[in-house]
Amino acid sequence: MSTTTLGDGRLRSHGPELVTLSRETRAPRRRVRVPRGIERFAGVLLLVGAWQVASSTGMLSADTLAGPFAVGKTGWHLVQDGTLTSAMWVSLKRVLTGLAIGVPLATVLALLAGLTRVGDDLVDAPMQMLRFLPIIGLEPLIVLWFGIGDAAKISLIVFGVTFPLYINTYTAIRALDPRHFELARTVGLGRMGTIRRVVLPAVLPGFLTGLRLAAAVAWLILVFAEQINATNGIGYLMIKAQQFFQTDVIVVGLAVYALLGLFSDAVVRFLERKALAWQPSR
């Protein structure tokens, strides 16, 4: 191999230039390292700060949008006198009741349609048609049927929850691997055993995706239904506030909706992590 003499007298053989791969060379160090979380938080802080400045300087009047400080204070008062907590509880109960009816309903319908021929013909065709109904557009009918009480709101939520959950679960059943059924036969699993050991676990990911959609839809419909006509709940709080230009209360209501939605999403995500530990992507 040919060699050259470097300036400092060392010998060096000719070959391709080599580089060292390590953490330092691959990701050049920044001079100041700020944790991602803090950076992201700083963005939010900046926005809220700008909002507060706009409110304090009078650029943003309280009738248009109350400042963050005022919103926080109002929220604290509403919690202390119990208004907010009882309204939250009323709203949460509506969503939970809607889910408690819609989830089993959708699951049973999807199993019927996915696993039996008769069920497929009788259930799936109408479901595929009805899923295109704009659920919110059902409101006038629902009010005629159930009045303006809780029953109307809950049944609207049931409608909204059932379709996304049904579609996702049914699709997952349809996508079952026939080779897994073959396996079930060769190891002598019966019909119930096959459903328990093969069908349900395989369908679970699709079901949980549907459940997350369903939870999101449930909150959306609740917000709508509570603002049309209600005598309690978060939406009622907001509509009443609108009449008195209490934008701070409206923002508090929005924040509570957002938090509740976030919370239910976190619950489903937690279920997914627990139940789908076997999935390759996890």
């Binding site: 080779r179 897994h180 073959e182 396996l183 079930a184 036969r185 060769t186 190891v187 002598g188 699993l189 055993g193 050991r197 093969v198 676990p201 395989a202 679970l204 530990a277 076997w278 999935q279 390759p280």
Partner: protein, 256 residues
């Protein structure tokens, strides 16, 4: 294998296939297949790709309801497919004992897992297993049922050469212990000679050749009887041996 072909006919018959045919639409993949198997007999089923080996094996497994002709098989059968066919949501031990009843099922499952050298992997998810490990789980799942008939559809086809050699040795050991009748579908002539008591070749919808493997162990490729049978089988399969030789695997020494 260590069976004596001379006395094989004295053992009870466990498989009787008589005049079996299978059509897909109008095309007859199996036309008139007949053969018998004695208890504990290890048979390799060779054939070019698409000749209906898997179709025949599925018929023996009882997975095909549209088969014509007469098939008699033991009630207790196990299948190992080409791909391990594990359920992604079932841990290794749960997969092995899938469909088994009885209090001692899990205990037996653990025993068989250690026989395929997978102790300690009982709670693993299938996604974490290598190809060879996954196929060993599949083998354990088949053997834990102590079948009278073990059906293997190119079980080592997807494995690398080194893993395949290990699996051959493992399969031999386990078959000696559990003594099932075995039908091993393969496209690998050497694998057939190495493992089987008898080789069947499927061609044109029939068994076109049925020969005993009279090669003394250890069955090395360099052995004359090995080479002679190899030529015979390749000729029957319509493969030009000179061309085939070019593709010989670099790992030659099989353990018998």
């Amino acid at each position: 294998m260590a069976t004596e072909p001379v006395t094989a006919f004295l053992r009870p018959r466990v498989v009787n296939v008589d005049g079996v045919a299978r059509r897909f639409e109008t095309r007859a993949v199996l036309d008139d297949v007949s053969f018998e198997l004695r208890a504990g007999e290890f048979v390799a089923l060779l054939g070019r790709s698409g000749t209906g080996k898997s179709t025949l094996l599925r018929a023996l497994a009882g997975l095909d309801v549209e088969i014509e002709g007469h098939i008699e098989v033991p009630a207790c059968r196990s299948v190992v497919f080409q791909e391990p066919r594990l359920l992604p949501w079932a841990r290794v031990l749960d997969t092995v004992v899938l469909g088994l009843r009885g209090d001692d099922a899990r205990q037996r499952g653990r025993g068989v897992l250690s026989e395929v050298e997978l102790n300690g992997h009982e709670r693993d998810w299938p996604k974490t297993l290598s190809g060879g490990e996954a196929q060993r789980v599949s083998l354990a799942r088949a053997l834990v049922r102590q079948p009278d008939l073990l059906l293997l559809d190119e079980p080592f086809g997807a494995l690398d050469a080194l893993t395949r050699i290990k699996m051959h040795a493992l399969l031999q050991t386990l078959c000696r212990r559990y003594r099932p009748a075995v039908v091993l579908v393969t496209h690998d002539v050497d694998e057939a000679i190495l493992l089987a008591d008898r080789v069947l070749i499927l061609g044109d919808g029939r068994i076109s050749l049925d020969v005993p493997v009279d090669v003394p162990s250890p069955r090395l490729r360099t052995n004359h009887a090995f080479a002679r049978l190899r030529s015979q089988l390749l000729a029957q399969l319509g493969v030009d041996e000179a061309a085939e030789g070019l593709h010989e695997s670099p790992v030659k020494e099989y353990v018998s």
